[in-house]
Amino acid sequence: MNFAATLAVAFRALAANKLRSALTMLGIVIGVAAVIVMIAVGRGAQAQVERQIRSLGSNLLIVFSASPTFTGARAAAGATHTISEEDAHAIHRELTETIVAAAPALRGSGQVVAGNSNWSSTFWGVTPEYFEVREWRLAEGRAFDPSEINGAAKVAVLGRTVAWNLFGDESPIGQTVRIRTVPLTVVGVLATKGQNLMGQDQDDIVLMPISTARNRVLGATALAKSRSVGSINIKARDDVDIKVAEEQVRQLLRQRHRLQPGQEDDFTLRNMTEILQAREDSSRVMAMLLAAVASVSLLVGGIGIMNIMLVSVTERTREIGLRRAVGARGGDILRQFLVEATALSLIGGLVGVLLGSLGAALIGELAGWPIELSPFAALLAVSFSAGIGIFFGFYPARKAARLSPIEALRHE
């Protein structure tokens, strides 16, 4: 009996019990659809994390002033300033093998005023390296030049959100904004980055030379007196293990701060990629949990197929007997039932892929999650469901094939 004929017989048998066939497929449909949705959501989340890692700057290390337990009480990182611009220079100077750039930054916040408009934002005193390390591109205008850093020039670069809130569609280049009464000329606008992982708007930011921030804007505070900074953003070389770079920076800073062995760091060193990857790992754990649920559903679907195939073998015992009488070999019967079971699960798998893709698209639309469909996952799910059909169809098929022709013919 050739394969086309076997297939035709199988489909006729399935079509004879349409409702039953559809219900039997349902388990597989749900299992496969769950797998497809899960992978689409998982891959979407992963792609988003990757985009955010890129937007943060790859191989980014951040040093904050003060360790969390500095002076015994838990203070927020960056609350006390224990690191300085000199630390940043030293990192850049002494770790040339591993570090591309080290950008000190001084943070402040306040009202940004332009004409009648004002907007509450965060500002950062930075050096030109900051743009490189945090991978900020300019949508308009320019970044700062070294002479502006040295001269504490009254210039600023606005984030997109600030620019839009103060100037609307108008170009802010050449306009003046005031922060804590200090007038600053806008020389550039940053390209959009969007939200970070915590949902904060990264474009709600004003950048100015670090000297300007220290001497003019924050001038009234104690900070101005020293060269201390709130944080240093460090970019490691691409070919360097971020862990190695992190350790070198730590050792250098401990040495510069004259910390004894056993003494705690007076700074906090964070590896941003690691933080993001921890998030990615947790989403992977979530995906594996979903995969476990989906595989249970596929297992139950497979058992459903086995159950229905056993019922079908019993119902069609006389038919099997007749087929044996007119010359079907045991193998022909085995193949016929196996093809039927596989067709059930394979069609279930295909429908599952279709529904799963639609479901994923719907979830993406309604929940606003990033969705990424995977053709490979679809292929895998379909072949896996075919495998389930073969696996769970085998026992009923063998039972049918082993029926004695006479017993089968006499079956009532």
Binding site: R318, R323, A325, V326, R329, G330, G331, P405
Partner: protein, 227 residues
Amino acid sequence: MGAPYRPLIRVERLTKEYALGETRVTALAGVSLEIAAGEFVAVMGPSGSGKSTFMNLLGCLDAPSGGAYWLDGREVSRLDDDALSNLRNRKIGFVFQHFNLLARTTALDNVALPLLYRGLPAAERRARAARRLEQVGLGGRMEHRPTQLSGGQQQRVAIARALVGDPELILADEPTGALDSKTGNEIMALLAELNRAGMTIVLVTHEHDIAAYAHRVIHFRDGRVVA
């Protein structure tokens, strides 16, 4: 009819025993006989006489416990399951009391069924099935399903199916048992006509007037041939 004598079926001391719980039941206690090619033989006997067992063995649906069976000169009692399937497909056509047609399947596809297991291409299967349906007088009913046919027509479809593989032997197990006597006689007339054309037919029946169509009657009792 003048053809040279050729034993199509030869059985010697054929026995069949079944295990029924602890005890063994002897269904066939040593049967020896010959049936020539072209013969029309009726097998009769009360139920439990072993005639059904004998027919199953003739039809290669079952293997004997002892003895030997030559079909068309070939010893078949020791063949394996696949070889027996092949033999049934090529040498034997079955006609059953309850027709055993596939429901939801057209007359044409029912008749073509044995050819499916011979691996013939679909076009040839359909052509040969159509010829046999015409031969049994159902040329106009090819696309009908069993439920759309009368009992007599269904049995004609079954006979066409038995013939489609050009077998050496037709085994008919009470072919008129589910039909009224008029239709039954029509079916018997069809079988007799096939026999006149040279087909060997072995028939199981309870009814003497049906057995009367045959040239020879073999009586079974307690697993043996009594006459």
